[in-house]
């Protein structure tokens, strides 16, 4: 729609990108040695939310599909993990199940929205409505008759007491706070690198091509609907991973995972960071989460007022997000220096 805002078809990463990734990995491994538990807990949840932001940012920035409902797969992932982990006691199984259920649902939902050739705004609103219906349905399950296996869905109270993730074969010994920090950080880094590399494959290039000009890609012989469904499912899987980790991190899932505020936060993370890169959504998540926590401590009243204002201002003034805007400014300054010489 606005080619100048959109992400460039990904070139192979340069050497400094690999250096940066390696540096991040080293920093991640070293962090627990010089930080306290509170920092590790706070940062773990940012990693988890960054995955959710990545799922939406990838889908929007590269495939041109604006889904407001990545929280559907986030919530489904969390709930599936919770139910399977409590029911079977085997958290590795629950981890896999927590990914499979939402992925299956994303194929079904994706079939309707992609193969129905629903235009872009319709798709955004439909995914938003689906996540709201999920929230409402789960909220209404507070009665004792709503059980899956032996697990009560608990309505708006959610499901407490979910077992933490443990390594395969070591059931009953859940990961420590440090372990969860490592896991969440590693998953985020892996998904980031993975998505970046997927964009280099034929699949990645085709979805970017479809975003640029769907008709042209179809005339070139690509079935755009198949590729879009693939992108939708891939993003669903990333959101599901985020949901599973969320359940394992807090030992708790609640219908709020599906609600409008959660969905809005994902949008704000991506908009603030910028959708034309993959690092933008991660950066945006960290920034907005720290800002929200800080606003909560200084007691300025409703955090949603500030978040709403941020969303309006970014759409009106910085529609590309912070990172691309900063990058452009830097390039501008750099170029003017070069031309002065």
């Amino acid at each position: 729609m606005y080619p100048e805002f959109a992400a460039h078809a990904a070139d192979p990463p340069r050497w400094w990108w690999w250096v940066a990734v390696a540096a991040m990995a080293v920093l991640l491994i070293a962090a627990p040695f010089f930080t306290d538990m509170a920092f590790q807990l706070d940062t773990s949840i940012i990693f988890v939310f960054a995955l959710l932001a990545l799922s939406m940012g990838f889908l929007w920035g590269y495939a041109g599909i604006l889904s407001f409902g990545q929280t559907i797969f986030f919530g489904l992932g969390g709930y599936s993990y919770a139910i399977l982990a409590i029911e079977t006691g085997n958290t590795s199984l629950a981890f896999i199940g927590g990914l499979l259920v939402p992925v299956l649902f994303s194929v079904i939902l994706g079939y309707f929205v992609v193969y129905g050739r629903i235009s872009e705004i319709y798709l955004s609103v439909v995914t938003l409505v689906v996540t709201l219906i999920f929230e409402k349905s789960i909220r209404s399950t507070s009665g004792p008759e709503f059980v899956i296996g032996s697990v009560r869905l608990g309505g708006q109270n959610g499901i407490p007491g979910i077992p933490g993730l443990s390594l395969p074969g070591m059931e009953g010994a859940p990961l420590s706070i440090e372990g969860v920090f490592y896991l969440a950080g590693a998953m985020m880094l892996l998904v980031y690198v993975g998505l970046r590399l997927i964009l280099l494959t034929t699949f990645g290039r085709v979805i970017v091509g479809i975003r640029e000009n769907e008709r042209r890609m179809e005339l070139l012989g690509y079935d755009s609907r198949r590729y879009k469904l693939g992108a939708f499912t891939l993003a669903g899987a990333v959101a599901a991973l985020s949901g599973v980790l969320y359940g394992a991190w807090g030992n708790f899932v609640a219908p709020e995972m599906f609600n409008l505020n959660q969905a809005a936060q994902v949008v704000i993370w991506v908009i603030v960071g910028g959708r034309s890169t993959l690092i933008g959504p991660i950066f945006g998540t960290g920034l907005v989460q720290y800002l929200s926590t800080w606003l909560g401590t200084v007691n300025v009243g409703q955090v949603t007022v500030v978040l709403g204002a941020i969303l309006i201002i970014f759409v009106l003034v910085f529609p590309r997000g912070l990172l691309p805007t900063i990058a452009d400014l830097a390039r501008l300054v750099f170029r003017s220096q070069v031309s002065e010489k």
């Binding site: 129905g116 689906v130 349905s137 809005a264 409703q302 949603t304 709403g308 969303l311 309006i312």
Partner: protein
């Protein structure tokens, strides 16, 4: 039994018409989806609460709510929406920001607790079914809102300009129509309908900062399935979904009703991606 079912269906259809007409007008005429629609309804409900609290009769409170939210809509259009015409996604995002902002501001200023409207409506017995008499007001208001909108667009000079702009905005402005002013008035009119909707609902639901949430999902489904013709689309979609919702809610529960509406909506979208009125050319 039969009376209860018919009543539930008519009531569900009327409710859908009331909550989605304002959204449908703004979407149909301007291709803008206003995600703050639920919050416009919420503001209308508060206007009704305060007006009746100050001693105004209910009918006057309806008018106050419509006028107040309509004016607020015009301000929103001037300050925010008008910079984003032609950028559909950005209007969606900006109005979402507005929605969060309004919920937060109202919670801060008025407080999170709900307020209610005191009315003196009783209930009547029809063939063994106990029906609250306010339901008839609600059903009557649905008819009135459709009638007002239809006659405004059909018979007035403003309506002629709006229909022209809707069919072809380029040609309309080439003929000297001030497109900005038309959009401003249309957005204000849609907001006024949302405010009226909130006021009509206030005696049933009361007013609370997050009440918009209860209506947005239904209203969006209705407008999207209805398609771009605001009146025909709203009536057709409300007819379908109201019937399903009424029958299923009667047989099971209101949540099952909403879920079944969503499933029918997804199947309908697969068959008619542009909505029921997507292929109709002229009309309202």
């Amino acid at each position: 039994m039969v009376v209860t079912t018919i009543y539930l269906i008519v009531y569900a259809i009327a409710l859908l018409v009331i909550i989605s007409l304002g959204l449908a007008i703004i979407f149909g005429m301007m291709r803008v989806i206003n995600l703050a629609h639920g919050e416009f309804i919420m503001l209308g409900a508060y206007a009704c609460v305060f007006a009746t609290g100050a001693g105004s009769p209910l009918w006057l409170a309806f008018i106050v709510a419509a006028v107040a939210v309509g004016l607020f809509g015009i301000v929103v259009e001037r300050v925010m929406v008008r910079f984003l015409y032609g950028r559909i996604i950005d209007t969606l995002l900006a109005t979402w920001g507005l929605s969060l902002f309004l919920v937060g501001i109202v919670t801060t200023i008025i407080g999170p607790r709900g307020r209610s409207v005191q009315t003196s409506f009783g209930s009547v017995d029809i063939a063994g079914t106990n029906i609250s008499s306010y339901s008839f007001v609600l059903i009557g208001m649905a008819f009135l809102m459709i009638a007002i909108t239809w006659s405004l667009v059909r018979f007035t000079r403003y309506g002629l300009i709006v229909r022209g702009t809707m069919q072809n905005a380029e040609i309309a402005s080439a003929l000297g129509v001030n497109r900005g002013a038309t959009y401003m008035v249309t957005f204000g009119f849609g907001a006024a309908l949302a405010g009226l909707a909130g006021a009509v609902l206030a005696p049933i639901t009361g007013a609370s900062p997050t009440m918009g949430l209860f209506f947005v999902a239904k209203a969006f489904i209705n407008v999207i399935i209805g398609g771009h013709l605001p009146i025909t689309g709203t009536l057709a979609a409300a007819g379908i979904f109201g019937s399903i919702d009424g029958v299923v809610s009667f047989l099971w529960s209101s949540v099952v009703g909403e879920v079944s509406v969503l499933i029918v909506a997804l199947v309908l979208l697969r068959l008619l991606p542009m909505g029921i009125t997507g292929r109709m050319r002229g009309g309202l």
